[in-house]
């Protein structure tokens, strides 16, 4: 047997190209369904767990899937916003704890999530380093976001401008990082969390600027009529909220109209959940209430139909690859007929020749499977993160 392995290895070394192609074919045919299954199983489990842990979401009427993706995974394009009055509407029913979410801006690639402190309690997020945000302009970052942005407590994060050509749009705001959250293995790891009020400052609803009523600001005034002052656009709006400037920050307009992209509603019990859902069934209702898990289930139902075609394609591909491999081995044996005749003439039995060929096939199969297992293990470790990146 040892001799057979020796002879097989010599043969494979002599025909490196052919052997490599055969091993790669085996590896791929084993890895493709196995690895894909592993990656997708893991990813779907994570996605579904997130949906299952979120009882209700309220947003403006539109695509429920976009609302779920935006609010649970901080992905997809921003949805049409609600107003703070809609948050109070849920609170006033007494059926659920409303947690506002504002997901519109990013710091480089990381989503900036405006929310209230209740979100951290609800998701069981714990500050691992530093402290919880306490005032306007402070933020806490998820573990992955801290790595991606290379920041920790004491550093700063700047929001990315939405449109450099829109002078009236959102200006970048420099925010102080005061804490890094413990890893939660969820989309929260990638987020930069700020208070709703800070999110509104990024949006331009709140701002801080020099006191235009001071005598030294006279040069920047266009008109003064009693208590009515018209200042020029030269008035400096602060791009950072320091302790010194904090008092100058203020909001304009009715806070009830300030935007939120979604409301995460945590009902008191099943009855409250049903009653709250009933409140959004009106004909003229502008908002929608969704059960994220139902949205994901709906998605899965659609998936089942598509999956049968994809599964059939993978099975056909596998069968054709196996047939091709059988053909390759058969042709190989035919091409090597003279070699086998020589072996017979020098005294090799039929059994020895069979074991020699068997060893060659066995080594190729074993190498292919080993590579497939290695690839599947790698996919298990890094695949879900990669897939999330692609999907969301």
């Amino acid at each position: 047997m040892k001799n057979a392995f020796y002879m097989a290895s010599r043969y494979m070394r002599r025909h490196k190209g052919k052997t490599a192609i055969l091993i790669a074919s085996i590896a791929m045919i084993v890895f493709l369904p196995l690895g894909l299954q592993t990656v997708v199983d893991q990813t779907t489990s994570e996605l579904e767990a997130r949906a299952r842990s979120t009882p209700l979401l309220v947003g403006r009427k539109g695509s429920p899937l976009e609302l779920a993706l935006s609010s649970l995974y901080f992905a997809a394009k921003p949805v049409e916003p609600l107003a703070m009055a809609d948050v109070d509407r849920i609170r006033d029913t007494g059926f659920a704890l409303p947690i506002p979410l504002h997901v519109r801006y990013r710091a480089r690639e990381q989503p900036i999530v405006g929310t209230s402190l209740e979100y951290f309690d609800f998701r069981a997020l714990r500050v691992a380093d530093g402290r919880q945000m306490a005032t306007l302009g402070e933020c806490v970052v998820g573990a992955s976001a801290a790595e991606a942005l290379e920041v920790g407590p004491g550093d700063a994060v700047t929001s990315s401008p939405t449109d450099v050509f829109n002078l009236a749009g959102a200006y970048p705001l420099k925010m102080r990082v005061v804490g890094v959250l413990a890893r939660s293995h969820s989309p929260d790891d990638d987020a930069v969390f700020v208070d709703m009020k800070t999110a509104w400052v990024i949006e331009g609803i709140g701002h801080g600027h020099d006191d235009v009523s001071k005598p030294e600001m006279a040069g920047q005034l266009l008109k003064r009529d009693g208590n009515k002052i018209t200042a020029s656009a030269q008035v400096r709006e602060y791009q950072e909220i320091t302790a010194k400037q904090a008092e100058s920050f203020h909001f304009h307009g009715d806070p009830a109209t300030f935007p939120v992209t979604a409301v995460l509603a945590v009902p008191n019990d099943a009855k409250s959940q049903a009653l709250l859902r009933g409140r959004y069934l009106g004909k003229d209702e502008r908002d929608q209430i969704i059960e994220p898990v139902a949205v994901m289930d709906e998605l899965v139902t659609t998936v089942v139909k598509v999956r049968s075609y994809v599964t059939a394609a993978v099975v056909l591909l596998g069968i054709s690859t196996l047939l091709m491999m059988t053909l390759v081995f058969a042709l190989s044996i035919r091409l090597r007929r003279r070699e086998m005749e020589t072996m017979t003439k020098i005294g090799c039995s039929r059994g020895t020749i069979a074991s020699l060929l068997g060893c060659e096939i066995g080594v190729v199969l074993a190498a292919g499977v080993a590579i497939a297992i290695g690839l599947t293990t790698a996919a298990h470790a890094w695949g879900p993160a990669l897939l999330r990146e692609v999907l969301l």
Binding site: S53, V300, R307
Partner: protein, 308 residues
């Protein structure tokens, strides 16, 4: 497009359901239902109301230092962390303790005790209206915030405290209601006394040493205008001129002070025919007594001053 990508990728691998889900309603913040409620407040009247209504079922903390005006005091982030942990956070509203507008506080545990009367807030005149850049014209004018000096509003605030405590600890609802009723009677008694004392003096011109008596004046129909004087500091020439300017159109015979005024200032006012009476708004913890005793003292002092 993303949805399509999601569908396709899910389909390629099949979907396996069964990962351990979390309890939909679970939050990490849990408290012993029998433990006293941790209540944080932004001024002394709210502390007093919460202690009277909550009694042994609450632990009330008022972190502002005794020598600072709680309306303008701003806590450090560490103190804000204390507020974040509280079961109930009682705010005054009407722009009192502006730091709360900039702080990250849990909305579900935040109670603006004057929310029910927000349409009755008194706007302070004279704010600067301005515009700059592409933004619309806006004003930074403020709101009068010493709301509790109108005992009717104080009762509304106390009721908001009762409601917040009952929501946080439903099992003690009846006790809170009973305690509130007793507090309400005390506040109504003060209101009745003040009404009786001030009714004959509706047209009498009064001057406040500081603009903190707006709600008090409105409640009792008093003709009161204010200057910006401090009880422990002698007014400078500008402040005297400010008063004289005011007296030309508002012939006040009595100045109401936030604290016991400087004797020299009292004497100087007396020479101008103006009496002085302290009426402590009691925004911070009094050095002696409690909210009710301070208000009763205010009533007596005002009665004496007006009768003279």
């Amino acid at each position: 497009m993303r949805a399509l990508a999601l569908v396709t990728l899910f389909a390629m691998g099949g979907v396996v359901v069964g990962c351990g889900g979390e309890d939909p309603g679970a939050t990490s913040r849990t408290r012993d239902p029998n433990a006293p409620l941790e209540v944080l407040v932004v001024n002394y009247p709210l502390q007093y109301f919460a202690e009277r209504i909550g009694a042994e079922h609450v632990r009330v903390a008022f972190p502002a230092p005794p020598d600072r005006d709680p309306a303008f005091w701003s806590p450090e982030p560490e103190a804000i962390a204390g507020f974040q942990q509280a079961d109930v956070i009682l705010l005054n509203g009407a722009g009192y303790a502006k730091w709360a507008e900039r702080a990250t506080l849990p909305r579900s545990r935040l109670v603006v005790t004057t929310a029910a009367v927000k349409d009755d807030y008194i706007q302070i005149e004279g704010g600067i209206t301005h515009s700059h850049g592409p933004g619309a014209e806006h004003s930074h004018e403020g709101t009068a915030f010493t709301t509790w000096l109108d005992p009717k509003i104080a009762i509304v605030q106390a009721d908001a405290v009762r409601s917040a405590l009952a929501r946080a600890q439903p099992s003690k609802r009846a006790a809170f209601a009973a305690n509130f009723d007793m507090l309400k009677q005390d506040l109504l008694a003060i209101d009745g006394d003040l009404e009786r004392i001030t009714t004959p003096h509706g047209k009498t011109c009064l001057v406040g040493s500081h603009p903190v008596y707006q709600y008090f004046a409105r409640r009792y129909g008093l003709n009161l205008k204010s200057v910006h004087w401090e009880p422990d500091k002698a007014p400078d020439d500008t402040q005297w001129k400010e008063l004289e300017e005011l007296l030309r159109t508002h012939a006040a015979k009595l100045m109401i002070w936030e604290g016991t005024p400087n004797p020299a200032t009292v004497e100087a006012l007396k020479k101008r025919g103006i009496g002085s009476v302290p009426f402590d708004p009691c925004g911070n913890v009094p050095s002696e007594g409690d909210y009710l005793s301070v208000m009763r003292f205010n009533v007596t002092a005002l009665e004496d001053a007006l009768s003279n």
